[in-house]
Structures are given as structure tokens and as C-alpha cells.
């Protein structure tokens, strides 16, 4: 028996968009107690369907045709009032960004109780009690305290649990989850996925789970739909789609996922490109005349080396200090003590002026390709400003810029264009070219492929591998994604709460992790079993 039956759904985009329809002629059903995963890359239209069902389409976007039957009615054509009555009651939704999805000025308990108020259930005193029960059900710690807490006092995972509690309040028949774990750490993601599976079991609700991550699909899906450019290109049971994909696009997506295969480490016993010794960085948060500051040890006595030509993966969850370490090496952050030795120079000990002279030695590739290039500068300027400041002749720098654009696969003529003319993946290539332009001793890639779709991610990783071979690059590759780390790196360093807990060749760390935290991290990778099966 299907809870929701969508037939020939089309959603029109406003004029001037890159295509006419966000979603075109889509039909599918979800049965009670079933988890349907809708998979696709950004821009595939996977979230638009969910928004249409909830009546939350953005301005200018409208349903152009088709029906969506839920509880005997086409919920796309019912009045706004009827739609509002369904929302939060029989259909509930959770969103991607737990950090921003809660009202910062309202207590968690009030925000949950609000769902009852919206649908006029229970008396005010009972609502609070019910909120407390829900908080208990989603396994938030210390429910009495959480009820009175404000969102900023909760971690990302806890906020997502609070969101789920809200969604479950009126026992919906259908839960729409729009990338609910994408913004979370692997271990937190694993817990949330387990919670959703548990709740499905207990409540028998249907779940429409939107994701771009096949690992997550392998973990929870009963059935899968793959979307591209607003159309469904493949559908089937989770096993069918994952093990025996029919459509080329699905095959490419699956092939693009960094596999669990661990490459043999290359021998890298040369002189070190980077040597970090006993590095420490402490942050003081808050504090004032009468209050004690909270002290966070972002980097707590970390020592490691990267050999010339080596790629060292630095993995850890958010708050582990991995990004701070990267920023300390480029001296965007000044450490309190310890040494950062790059080709004989201790970067940590230099003053401002001396630092400027040697800064080119370490270059950084940032996470967000949209924010890391100045939108008003042509690519040529982005690639030549640094070298010219370093003393390279202007003509030479320009020549080099053209050559580098060729190297990263964008073509020499692209230097005359502005960043907005490039896609995210292409911008990341420009970011890499910019780093290379300085002829650095070391490149720090901070989550450099995390913001990209899997197929684009695979291309950028290929590029990095290729460059590394051609130019004998040393890279500190910072990532939260263990699969990605396994693909590119020679050795892996694992950080937890500012400490380096494990470091070793990829195969050692992945196949025979020593530290319990590394084991937890590896166990939390979604679709772990499926990844191994693919070997």
C-alpha cells in the first residue's frame, strides 16, 4: 500500500534559469514503512520534489503538471490552508543544515511544542510534557536540560536530533529528509542514520531520503531513485542499483565514488618537505573581567613530517584541530610553541616581514571554490598576483599562468575569464593552479574536494594524483572523508581533540587501525560493508 504516489510531476523553473524544468515527468511511490532514497548531484532536482510536496517551493518555481496523491488527495492542488494542515502533521520534513534550521532565539522545548500548537493538539502544559518525551525518544542527553536549552548550546548532531523530534511530534505517515546528515561528522552521521532506521521500525512511517551519498544509500535504502537534470534515470531496489546499475550515469556515479580499495603506498624516504615539532595552539573563548575563559586546545603537542613527494592525509571530525593545523603551517594562525620547518626554515618563528618573503613555500587550496577566488579579478590576475609579488617578471608570470591553466585542464585561453564563468569543479582547478603558480614546497588542501559532487570530486582527485606524479608535489590533504583520503594519500594521520592519535601508511591505518578513535571513525563510514563488497 503506497503512502505517496507521484505521477508525472513536473516543476517549472523561472524564466532565465539554466533549464526549463527542475523536475520533469517524474513518477514514483513510497510504501508505508519503506525508505526511498532519491539520489542525484546538485542541480538534479531531487530537493525540488520534496519542497513541492511540502508546499515550500521557492519564489518563482511552480508545479507545472502531474499529481501527488497522499491520503486520497492530490496534495499539489489542495488549498494553502489544507496544505498547512498536512505540514508537520502527516508529512514532516527535516533539513540539511541543523546549524541554521532552528530559531536561535527560542528554547528547544518551545520549538518542539510549537508543532502541537500549530495543529491545536493538547493543552499548553501537556505540550511541554510531550516535547520532553520526544526529546527522550530521539535519545538526546539530559532531556530536562535540553528542553530549556537554546540551539546554540547544542552540537550539530544534537540539533539534528531536535529537528527529528519536531518532525516526529505528530507521528507523520511520511518523513521527508533532505540531506539530513550531509553537514555532520561521520560518527554523528552514523548515529542519525541509525536513529532514522530505528524510528522507521518503531513507527512504520515512510521515509523519503534525499542524498548525494551512495554510502548513505547503501546504509539505509530499501529502494533507490537516481535523478539527473530533473529526470529519473534509474530506479530499483537498493541492491539492484548498487550492485548492478543499468544506466550509464549511475555507473559513472558509482565508479566515481572513492572505493574502499587501498592503494599500495609509494616509497617516500626522501628529505622532509615539512617537519612539525611539538606544535601547540590554544584558543581562549569568552572570558572577561569576572569570568574565566574557556580554553580549547586546538593543537596539542603535534609532531609529524611529510616527505618530499608525499601526500599525507589528515583526517578527523569537526573540532579535531585538523584545519587549525593546516592554517598554522601557512601561518594564517600563529602557534604558541613548536616548530614548523619547511625546507630548513622555521615558519613558526618568523616575524611578519620575514614571513612574507618565504610565504610562497606553502600554498593553500581552500574548501569553498565559490568564496576563494576574488569575483572581480580575472583568472590571469588570480594566477599572477602571487608570483609577481614574489619577484617574477610580469611577462614570465603571465606565460606561466597560461601554461598552468593548460596543466589543470582548463585551456590557456580561460585566463581571460572571471571566476563566475566557471563551475565549482573548474574553480577548484583554478585554485590548484594558483597554488602551483607559486612553486611551493608544500600544498595544503583543506577539504579541497568536500564541496564538490562525486563525479567532479573524482576528476579533481585524478588531477591531483596526476600533478603529484608530474611535479613530485608534497601535499597535506585535510579531509573528513575517509574514502577520499584512502584514494589519494600515502600516509594517514588521525586527529582527535587537538591530538594526533594515529599516523601510518594508508593500508595500516585502514586495515589494521590501532587507536580506538580510528576504529570508531572507520566503523562509522556509511555503506562500509558495501564498499568492501565492491572489492
Amino acid at each position: 500500500m503506497s503512502v505517496l504516489k507521484i505521477t508525472d510531476l513536473s516543476i517549472a523553473l523561472p524564466q532565465g534559469a539554466d533549464r526549463g524544468f527542475a523536475v520533469q515527468q517524474c513518477s514514483y511511490e513510497i510504501a508505508a514503512g519503506e525508505i526511498l532514497c532519491v539520489v542525484g548531484e546538485s542541480g538534479s532536482g531531487k530537493s525540488m520534489t520534496a519542497n513541492a510536496l511540502m508546499g515550500l517551493l521557492p519564489e518563482g518555481v511552480s508545479v507545472a503538471g502531474g499529481t501527488a496523491y497522499f491520503g486520497g488527495k492530490d496534495i499539489l492542488t489542495v488549498s494553502e490552508a489544507e496544505q498547512r494542515a498536512l505540514r508537520g502533521d502527516r508529512i514532516a520534513m527535516i533539513f540539511q543544515e541543523p546549524m541554521t534550521a532552528l530559531n536561535p532565539l527560542m528554547r528547544i522545548g518551545d520549538q518542539i511544542a510549537e508543532v502541537f500548537e500549530a495543529h491545536k493538539r493538547h493543552r499548553p502544559a501537556e505540550r511541554r510534557q510531550k516535547a520532553l518525551e520526544l526529546i527522550r525518544e530521539v535519545q538526546l542527553p539530559d532531556p530536562e536540560k535540553i528542553v530549556r536549552a537554546y540551539p546554540f548550546q547544542l552540537s550539530g548532531g544534537q540539533r539534528q536530533r531536535a529537528m527529528i523530534a519536531m518532525a516526529l511530534a505528530l507521528e507523520p505517515e511520511l518523513l521527508i529528509a533532505d540531506e539530513p546528515t550531509t553537514a555532520l561528522d561521520v560518527t554523528t552521521q552514523a548515529q542519525i542514520l541509525k536513529l532514522i532506521l530505528d524510528l522507521r521500525e518503531r513507527r512504520g512511517m515512510a521515509v523519503m531520503f534525499i542524498t548525494h551519498d551512495f554510502g548513505v544509500v547503501a546504509e539505509i535504502a530499501d529502494r533507490v531513485i537516481v535523478m539527473r537534470y530533473g529526470e529519473i534515470v534509474e530506479r530499483g531496489s537498493a541492491v539492484e542499483v548498487l550492485e548492478n546499475p543499468q544506466h550509464d550515469y549511475t555507473k559513472r556515479l558509482l565508479a566515481a565514488i572513492p572505493s574502499g580499495l587501498v592503494p599500495a603506498s609509494t616509497e617516500v624516504a626522501k628529505a622532509p618537505a615539512l617537519e612539525i615539532r611539538n606544535l601547540k595552539k590554544t584558543y581562549r573563548i569568552g572570558g572577561g573581567l569576572f569570568r574565566d575563559a574557556r580554553v580549547v586546545q586546538a593543537i596539542n603537542d603535534v609532531s609529524l613530517t611529510i616527505a618530499r613527494g608525499e601526500v599525507l592525509g589528515l583526517v578527523g571530525e569537526s573540532g579535531s584541530g585538523k584545519s587549525t593545523l593546516g592554517r598554522a603551517v601557512v601561518r594564517l594562525v600563529t602557534p604558541e610553541s613548536g616548530e614548523i620547518i619547511v625546507s630548513g626554515t622555521d615558519m613558526a618563528a618568523l616575524g611578519e616581514a620575514e614571513l612574507r618573503a618565504v610565504r610562497y613555500k606553502v600554498q593553500m587550496v581552500f574548501q569553498d571554490p565559490y568564496a576563494s577566488l576574488n569575483p572581480r579579478h580575472r583568472v590571469m590576475r588570480a594566477l599572477t598576483d602571487g608570483p609577481i609579488a614574489k619577484g617574477v617578471a610580469k611577462e614570465k608570470a603571465r606565460e606561466r599562468a597560461r601554461a598552468l591553466m593548460e596543466t589543470v585542464g582548463l585551456g590557456a585561453d580561460a585566463v581571460e575569464r572571471y571566476p563566475h564563468e566557471f563551475s565549482g569543479g573548474q574553480r577548484q582547478r583554478i585554485g590548484i593552479a594558483r597554488a602551483l603558480a607559486m612553486d611551493p614546497e608544500l600544498i595544503i588542501a583543506d577539504e579541497a574536494v568536500s564541496a564538490l559532487d562525486v563525479s567532479i570530486q573524482a576528476q579533481v582527485l585524478d588531477l591531483l594524483r596526476d600533478l603529484r606524479r608530474r611535479f613530485d608535489l608534497s601535499i597535506l590533504f585535510i579531509t573528513h572523508d575517509l574514502r577520499v583520503a584512502a584514494q589519494l594519500c600515502d600516509r594517514i594521520a588521525v586527529m582527535q581533540k587537538g591530538k594526533l592519535v594515529e599516523i601510518g601508511p594508508v593500508s595500516e591505518v585502514f586495515l589494521n587501525p590501532q587507536h580506538s578513535y580510528t576504529q570508531t571513525l572507520l566503523a562509522a563510514v556509511p555503506g562500509g560493508g558495501w564498499g568492501k563488497a565492491a572489492q
Partner: protein, 325 residues
């Protein structure tokens, strides 16, 4: 507890700031050429050295500079703001006499502008792009662009001279002998024109800020969450959007509140309102240094007091301030 500590800490800082301001004022006044003795003697038309020396001795101006400073600081510590020789009254009495009139005017204008501004801003944002929005935004632009003195004069011309509805100047009817409620009513009638004129400009500022802030907050994720709960639009607007949108408005209101004492000079002058602003204006013209220093100090104290109040209000509406997880 946290609030008590915060208030105490702020008061301590405020006292230090105030002292620094007082000393700075003292230097400023003394850096200006001439001194009250010379001015007074000059105005008397008989500038014989003996008289100037007598005056100097009377004002304590014959003492070494550091002693004058020490004496001044000592005096203000005991709330002694000196004596206005021009007005023949202690400065503190002068200020306390004028302060209520100014506060009645500026506080009324403040609340009118804040409440009307926020209400209009919410109304405009709810119908963005429609006729109501255009009308409100247009009117706000007009108020914003009109010079205060011109609006004040026009108000007097229209409502007082032509229509005769409201009195055009003064604080109350002189010699009316009203008492109690009748007097309050009389003051209220005198208050309407100056308060509205003063309030219109800031109303326009609050309206624009509220509108922009409401539209921005409406785009945020938690508003989508609220919609997904099935809440009615009016509740979403009031509980989720407005509360968050008010944060920047409160910041601005706090800044404006700091000018409550000194910011009405123009209005007080046009409407012959016997407040601090006019006192300052008159004292400046007459080089009545003790009074000027006194007004400066009281204005500075008011800025600090309203800053503290703003911070406390902020704490009340934004839980993220003052406590960390």
C-alpha cells in the same frame, strides 16, 4: 547572577569612562583661547587688570593648571558641577530644572519613532513590492530627506498658525495656573508638534531597517522549518521572523537613545522648548564654561546609561549573549 555581575562590571567601566570624559572635556575647554574672566570683563566693557585678576581669583583660574584639574575632578566626584555666574545658579540645579522637559520630549519622540517605525516596517515587508510597501517606503524616504528645522517650521505654520489646533511653542501655557491633570493635558498639547517632528526622521530610519531585516530573516532556514511545522503565516512572522529581525533595530535604537539628552537642540530651539539642548546653546553663546562642562558630563552619563540599558535589553532578547554552552 550572570546579569548582576555583568551590570556591576559595566558600571565599573562606566565610572572610569565618565571620569576620562570629564578630564578630556576639561582640557578641551581650557584649550580654547581666553577664559570666562576675560569674557566677562570684556562684556562689562571695563577690562582693567585688577578686575580680571579678581575674577580669576574668584573662579580659581589663578591657580596652577594641575590644581584646577584636581579641584574640578574632586568637585564632580561629589556631584558639584560648579556655579553658573551667567545664570546665577548652581549648574546642577540648572540642569535638573531643564532635564525633565528634554526627557519628556525626546523619550516621547523616541517611542513614537520606534513603535511606528517597527510597525510600518513589518507592514511593508509583509506586502513587499505591493502598493502598501511602495506607499510606506515612499513616505519614509520623504521624512528621511526632509530637514528637521523645515519640517518643524512647516508644522508650526500649518497646525498652529493656520489651523490653530495646537500651540506652536513653549512647554506649557505661561501664567495659566493649571494644576494636576489640566496641566498634564496642557503640556501634552505643547508636546505633540515637537515630538512628532523629532520622531519622524528616526521613524523613517527604523522603518527601513525593520523592513530590510524582516526580508532578510524571512529567507533563513529556520523560517522554512517553521513553515514545515504547519504554523500559520502570522505566527511565523511574529514569533520567528520579527524577533530575529529586531536585533539590529535594537542596536540602532540604543545608539539613538544615547542622544536623548543632547540631540534635540534644533527642535528645542524652533519650538522654544525649555530643555537641555537650549541651555547648551545659550551657554555656548555666552561662554558659560561651567554650564557647558556640566551639560557635557550629563550627556555623556546619559549615553553610558542608555548603552548599559541597551546591552541588558539585548541580553533579554538574545540568549546567545552572556552565556556560552
Amino acid at each position: 547572577m550572570a546579569i548582576a555581575v555583568a551590570i556591576f562590571s559595566r558600571l565599573l567601566k562606566a565610572a572610569i569612562t565618565l571620569l576620562a570624559i570629564a578630564i578630556l572635556n576639561f582640557f578641551l575647554v581650557h584649550a580654547a583661547p581666553g577664559d570666562p574672566a576675560t569674557v566677562l570683563a570684556g562684556e562689562a566693557g571695563a577690562a582693567d587688570p585688577q578686575m580680571i585678576a579678581d575674577l580669576k581669583a574668584r573662579f580659581g583660574l589663578d591657580q596652577p593648571f594641575y590644581i584646577q584639574l584636581a579641584r574640578y575632578v574632586g568637585n564632580i566626584m561629589t556631584l558639584d558641577l560648579g556655579y553658573s555666574f551667567r545664570q546665577g545658579q548652581p549648574v546642577l540645579d540648572l540642569i535638573m530644572e531643564r532635564l525633565p522637559a528634554t526627557l519628556i520630549l525626546t523619550l516621547t519622540a523616541f517611542w513614537i519613532s520606534l513603535l511606528a517605525g517597527v510597525a510600518l516596517g513589518v507592514a511593508a515587508s509583509a506586502r513587499v513590492g505591493k502598493f502598501t510597501d511602495t506607499l510606506i517606503t515612499g513616505a519614509a524616504l520623504l521624512f528621511y530627506a526632509t530637514p528637521l528645522y523645515w519640517a518643524a517650521l512647516m508644522a508650526v505654520l500649518v497646525f498652529s498658525v493656520q489651523l490653530g489646533w495646537l500651540p506652536g511653542f513653549g512647554y506649557e501655557t505661561v501664567g495659566s495656573g493649571y494644576g494636576g491633570l489640566a496641566r498634564a493635558w496642557d503640556i501634552l498639547k505643547h508636546l505633540i508638534l515637537p515630538a512628532l517632528t523629532l520622531g519622524l526622521f528616526f521613524m523613517a530610519v527604523y522603518m527601513r531597517m525593520t523592513r530590510a531585516s524582516m526580508l532578510e530573516v524571512a529567507q533563513q532556514d529556520f523560517v522554512k522549518t517553521a513553515k514545515a511545522k504547519g504554523l500559520a503565516p502570522s505566527i511565523i512572522r511574529r514569533r520567528h521572523i520579527l524577533r530575529n529581525a529586531l536585533l539590529p533595530v535594537v542596536t540602532l535604537a540604543g545608539l539613538q537613545a544615547g542622544q536623548l539628552v543632547g540631540g534635540a537642540v534644533l527642535t528645542e530651539t524652533v519650538f522654544a522648548w525649555p530643555g537641555i539642548g537650549r541651555l547648551m546653546f545659550e551657554s555656548l553663546a555666552a561662554r558659560d564654561y561651567n554650564t557647558i562642562l556640566g551639560v557635557f558630563l550629563v550627556s555623556a552619563a546619559m549615553v553610558i546609561v542608555f548603552n548599559i540599558i541597551t546591552d541588558l535589553v539585548y541580553r533579554l532578547i538574545d540568549p546567545r549573549i552572556g552565556q556560552k554552552a
